[in-house]
Amino acid sequence: MNAIEVKALSKSYGDIHAVDGIDLSIAEGEIFALLGPNGAGKTTTVEILEGFRTRDSGDVSVLGFDPRLGGQEARQWRNRIGIVLQSTSDSGDLSVIETIAHFSGYYSNPRDVNEVINSVGLDDKSNSLIRKLSGGQRRRLDVALGIIGNPELLFLDEPTTGFDPEARRNFWALIKKLRGNGTTIVLTTHYLDEAEALADRVGVINNGRIMEIATPAELGGRSTSKALVTWRDGHEIKSQATDNPTALVGQLTSTFNGEIPELTVTRLSLEDIYLKMIGVHHE
């Protein structure tokens, strides 16, 4: 069974079709990244899945439950999911460990409080008040509160905004570890390298519609696109797009009789593909 199943989902605000007929299946244990510019319908879609917003039409099943329902069943459902929202800055007067320990009491099978603190790298801030934390540390607390309930499904909304590169790498390692335990993860992010590092599949959403769903390596025909070979010839940097980079490099090797100056072979980055898909042209 899929963790998330969405069929023909639509939601309008007045004349604006924020979500305009989305189909989406996310498998159990998968990391799925939803990409798209601001205002594309990303947040609306995710918040419908999280049960924060109602939909106009379409079918939605999240862990076999319709998120628009309420009552005791909704509590049982929320017990199985974790949500890391975009910006939260509350309870500045509680310490990290007090907050996480309190939230752990909401769930039937929470993870160990200290283990969670350790996994987000806040050990030495455990007894600090939240208002004394830096932006990145607060974000890690948000993540800790998202995973304390030991969720089967975790929503992460731009989780690493404001992280330094090291914190981001540590966070990626944490997410991969969660996936290793079988957690399904739905990620929205503006960082294409993050999607590439983490996601099994990415979906690009624009103007309320899904444009394509593919693995990061295959999105937008990336795996079959031409490779770009560049090198230096005297004072000149030369480049050539080719379907056969290996042959070209072999040719150049004999031309230069050995080492090719400043050789690089690249394919389009995920970012190049993504920007092309959403219609942004830049140099």
């Binding site: 999280e50 924060f52 509590r75 049982q76 929320r78 017990n79 999911i81 949500i83 929202l85 975009q86 910006s87 939260t88 800055s89 509350d90 309870s91 007067d93 509680l94 007090e98 309190h102 939230f103 009491g105 909401y106 769930y107 039937s108 099978n109 008040l129 509160l145 309930g149």
Partner: protein, 264 residues
């Protein structure tokens, strides 16, 4: 698989957390707990007359201060702090957990009740020592006092949670809520003797719970002989009970049905 904790047990845990958070905000602790005492000191020093044989203005004023303490702590406090929590995203985060709304409301009610008990004890101590305020003497008066505080706290909490949907933002909440409370205090006979107010003010005040809470508190703190000086020539405690129950029902209805967890 363990069971999810019950709404009541989570509510009690939230109450503990709310109190801890509140206790760490030194300014609001001082303001909330000392403000009624300061007002008593000011009014008790200015109005030294007796308003009836054996009834000082301080005695009259203590009744009003306890009643308006209930409104300040519950209604005003919650209608201002809940929009702030909403702005911070704290409510939305709670909404995403299995914690039910009722637990959140119970937590707020516990915070209001504990804060009220402390305020009342301080008013009593200060009033008795410095302004010769007399404590209720009979068991039945203490009983009336108990249900007034209990029902008043519940009513004020529910209305505060309900009214938290009105302010558009946390920053603007105080500007919306505070004038309502101050006007109600003037109209309801907290600062002035109710029967000396213009009758249209008395009639407006009679719609809202503060007038009834204040009158009920007077029945506790003033001698029964004073009842004849009330508008209805009696304490009307039965009517007070009904009015407070009605407002409690209104507060609960809007809290449960209309509570906003998110900014938009």
């Amino acid at each position: 698989m363990n069971k999810i904790p019950s709404a009541l047990s989570l509510g009690i845990r939230r109450g503990g957390l709310e109190i801890r958070q509140f206790a760490r905000q030194r300014e609001s602790v001082i303001f909330t707990l000392l403000f009624p005492v300061m007002l008593l000191a000011i009014f008790g020093s200015v109005f030294k007359d007796t308003i009836a044989p054996g009834v000082t203005f301080s005695q009259y004023f203590v009744a009003g201060m306890i009643a308006s303490g209930l409104v300040n702590t519950g209604f005003q406090g919650l209608a201002i702090t809940i929009p702030l929590e909403r702005d911070f995203g704290a409510l939305k985060r709670l909404r995403g957990t299995p914690m039910p709304a009722s637990s959140y409301f119970i937590g707020k009610a516990i915070l209001v009740s504990v804060s009220m008990v402390i305020q009342i004890l301080m008013l009593f101590g200060f009033g008795v020592i410095f302004f010769g305020v007399h404590m209720p003497t009979s068991g039945s008066k203490w009983l009336t006092f108990a249900w007034l505080v209990l029902l008043g706290s519940a009513c004020s909490t529910a209305l505060g949670i309900a009214f938290s949907i009105v302010p558009k933002s946390g920053r603007g909440a105080s500007a919306v809520v505070s004038p309502i409370v101050i006007i109600l205090q003037f109209f309801s006979g907290v600062f002035f003797i109710f029967t000396q107010l213009p009758s249209w003010m008395q009639q407006v005040a009679a719609i809202f719970p503060l007038k009834w809470l204040t009158q009920g508190m007077r029945s506790v703190f003033l001698p029964d002989s004073f009842a004849t000086q009330e508008v209805a020539k009696s304490w009307e405690n039965g009517r007070t009970f009904i009015v407070l129950m009605m407002w409690l029902a209104i507060g609960i209805y809007f809290s449960v049905r209309k509570f906003k967890w998110d900014r938009d």
